[in-house]
Symmetry: C2
DNA sequence: GCCCTCGTCCCGTCACGCGGGACACGCCCG
DNA sequence: CGGGCGTGTCCCGCGTGACGGGACGAGGGC
């Protein structure tokens, strides 16, 4: 009687972000009560926030329920991390699919997970756990390991020190084994996934570098374990990733490794 | 002396939305001052808002500048209007590209413009003005006219009554001509674009319907005016759009038109 | 009938968003 | 070298708009 003062110390923006994040990939429209349940916010707060978001076009009314608005899709397509990589990669991905007749993935690293930026599927391919815009733990995927192997130490450390979730029964969950695997990938330039992210699915992946040598993401080719010869697709993925890196301004490994007489570490195909 | 009181009557959310909308498709990172200029907001307001958005992962720091965050891409991929349509359409779009060897578009209507949801390009094709997540005036594109022809009257009216921008020298800018064209499309089930959206580019488009007969979007095939025979691709586009509509639950035109002896208006191939 | 859940709206209270201004820094030009 | 400009960043008194408990009616299941 009352007019409660706010009791939480989180900002308005944080609540709005919570509401937007409460929508799941498989949702269509969601009711206000369900959003309140998912976010832990009071029903009136959710209702007020959704009204504001609708006014901005970030949400759309659907009867009395609400769903993510098309404007969020438009803004999402402008995100540089995915746009520049995807635009440059698409032709190479199409070539890879043509050459291998398997599913081709492009992903970037975000925290300890990979986010898939583009996927070119094949008619006969397996049902994969990856979705465009979806996440999977980096240590359990080919693209993730390819990126981690060439990431700065603090990024790799964050993954090795964190919990290594068991995505499939063959996932690498021992930090030591993962670290040794990353060292091998660093030498060969190609990462493999032997049913570590899904039963019966194997994959070869290779990192994509930017102008200054930093890792931007990774390309991969994946398919059924008994229909893909990794030794055959690995060179193709590696070559495509190098070609893509070159179009992005990559000039080869750091100069300390380019002294004549010293090896070229990533050409062990 | 002084702690100015807020002087604008727009909400905080509206300012946040303005900041997010201030990023253009071609931008990478943008400075706070530039954002303030684009949004018309005070520099300190922009600075405060960007700090909050960074904390939520909706923006990313890039030196002292700022860019759209990967989380916006993830959320954008969950938007139902594009997700369900894109997922269902991709196989049909691939078939269309295979059969016509031309660029295939999938778009939805938003206000008086179309938003492109997916584009399958071809190596030899022309450089098109369309981008995934980009907008073009509905009246100046094949997909736009295909959607408008089967939209509720108030939607069509909003376009006819508004300004019809001249996108290319052949754009339809006369409301009467456009209305007559929409009536023809309603009869034939196929819309054409004869260099109305870009010089030298033609296109055939056909609407995609949902379970209740409502228009969800449109498919199109486009290419160079002298390399595409519209009479040949139009049936392909029409067929693909009907097949896609069927997988989405469409059962044919409204029942009042299905009485035996009356015509089946959209089968004039 | 009852009861639970839903979307919606009201309202007294106070945290927090507000924006002018200050400050340091880097850059260009004279 | 110094002045002028445009940055990014931060401070601070102010008052407005976000806050959430609760009320209300509608719908649906038992």
């Amino acid at each position: 009687m009352t007019g409660m003062p706010p009791k939480s110390d989180e900002s308005y923006l944080h609540r709005v972000s919570r509401v937007l994040g409460a929508f799941r990939a498989e949702d269509d429209a969601v009711g206000a009560a369900e959003l309140a349940r998912r976010t832990g916010l009071p029903r009136s707060t959710v209702h007020r926030i959704t009204l504001g978001l609708i006014e901005e076009g970030l949400l759309e009314r659907c009867g009395t329920e609400v769903r993510l608005g098309l404007r969020l899709f438009e803004i999402g397509q402008r995100v540089p991390r995915q746009r520049v990589l995807r635009d440059a990669a698409l032709p190479y991905m199409a070539d890879l699919r043509e050459a291998t007749r398997q599913t081709v993935h492009l992903a970037v690293l975000e925290g300890r997970e990979v986010v898939y930026v583009e996927i070119l599927g094949t008619p006969g391919g397996p049902a994969l756990p990856s979705r465009v815009g979806g996440r999977l733990p980096a240590h359990a995927t080919g693209v993730g390991k390819a990126i981690l192997a060439f990431s700065p130490p603090e990024v790799t450390r964050a993954v090795l020190d964190g919990e290594l979730a068991r995505v499939s029964e063959r996932s690498l969950v021992a930090p030591g084994l993962l670290a040794r695997e990353l060292a091998r990938i660093r030498r060969d330039g190609v990462a493999y996934d032997n049913e570590e992210s899904g039963r019966g699915i194997v994959c070869a992946a290779s990192p994509v570098h930017g102008r200054d040598g930093e890792v931007l993401g990774a390309l991969s080719v994946s398919g059924w374990v008994n229909r893909v010869r990794l030794a055959r697709v690995a060179p193709a993925v590696h070559t495509a990733a190098l070609a893509l890196s070159r179009t992005l301004g990559y000039r080869g490994p750091a100069q300390t490794l380019r002294q004549p007489g010293i090896q070229a570490p990533s050409s062990t195909v």
